[in-house]
């Protein structure tokens, strides 16, 4: 089970939109509609911000949206804010086990 592939870093100015990709295979991302995204601030535990490809848990800003096409999932952050600066990880169910993405550091310029 190899890690899903994400860009190492993405940056944007306040107010801009950025998109993070997450590429897997037909055994994980492409095979199930169980892709989640997690936000992790330094020294903190991860927090789920998207689940089941497109759903936001209660309390998560609607500036976060996501989608999936084939073996690639994407997370978009709209109206980028300073508090969005963090590491972001995609994750997929892979038939009994789970696999994370390699992680993307988002920098707000």
């Amino acid at each position: 089970q190899s890690a899903l592939t994400q860009p190492a870093s993405v940056s944007g100015s306040p107010g801009q939109s950025i998109t993070i990709s997450c590429t897997g295979t037909s055994s994980d991302v492409g095979g199930y509609d169980y892709v989640s995204w997690y936000q992790q601030h330094p020294g903190k535990a991860p927090k789920v911000i998207i689940y089941d490809v497109t759903n936001r848990p209660s309390g998560v800003s609607n500036r976060f949206s996501a989608s999936k096409s084939g073996n690639t999932a994407s997370l978009t952050i709209s109206g980028l804010q300073a508090e969005d600066e963090a590491d972001y990880y995609c994750e997929s169910f892979a038939g009994g086990v789970y696999v994370f993405g390699t992680g993307t550091k988002v920098t707000v310029l």
Partner: protein, 119 residues
């Protein structure tokens, strides 16, 4: 709401054994899965293993099969992660997370247990 608490930081010598714990509380917690995630210093998240509290059904990620053992005590809502012989490369933060059976997202996370293995 579910709450999750992990055991405290550990400092061990190479070759020693170790067990860390993750205790959850909440309504119907026996119907939850608990999983362990490793984060090595400055690195990303890695799934290690998951266990279903109700019947101790376990799943290991291939990279960690045979390297660690996950177990649980349903009566106290606690999952454990055990090493028989630690290596310096096991130095990491270990998080536990939980999800209700039937869900595929990890909603509730522990605060993390820092394990340092050094001679």
């Amino acid at each position: 709401e579910v709450q999750v608490a992990q055991s405290g930081a550990e400092v061990k010598n190479p070759g020693e054994s170790l067990e860390i714990s993750c205790q959850g509380s909440g309504n119907d917690f026996a119907n939850y899965w608990i999983g362990w995630v490793r984060q090595m210093p400055g690195k990303g998240l890695e799934w290690m293993a998951i266990i279903y509290l109700r019947n101790s059904d376990t799943k290991y990620s291939p990279s960690f099969q045979g390297q660690v053992t996950i177990s649980a005590d349903k009566s106290i809502g606690t999952a454990y992660l055990q090493w028989r012989s630690l290596k310096a490369s096991d130095t990491a933060m270990y998080y536990c997370a939980t999800t209700r059976n039937g869900n595929y997202r990890w909603d509730f996370w522990g605060q993390g247990t820092l394990v340092t293995v050094s001679s």
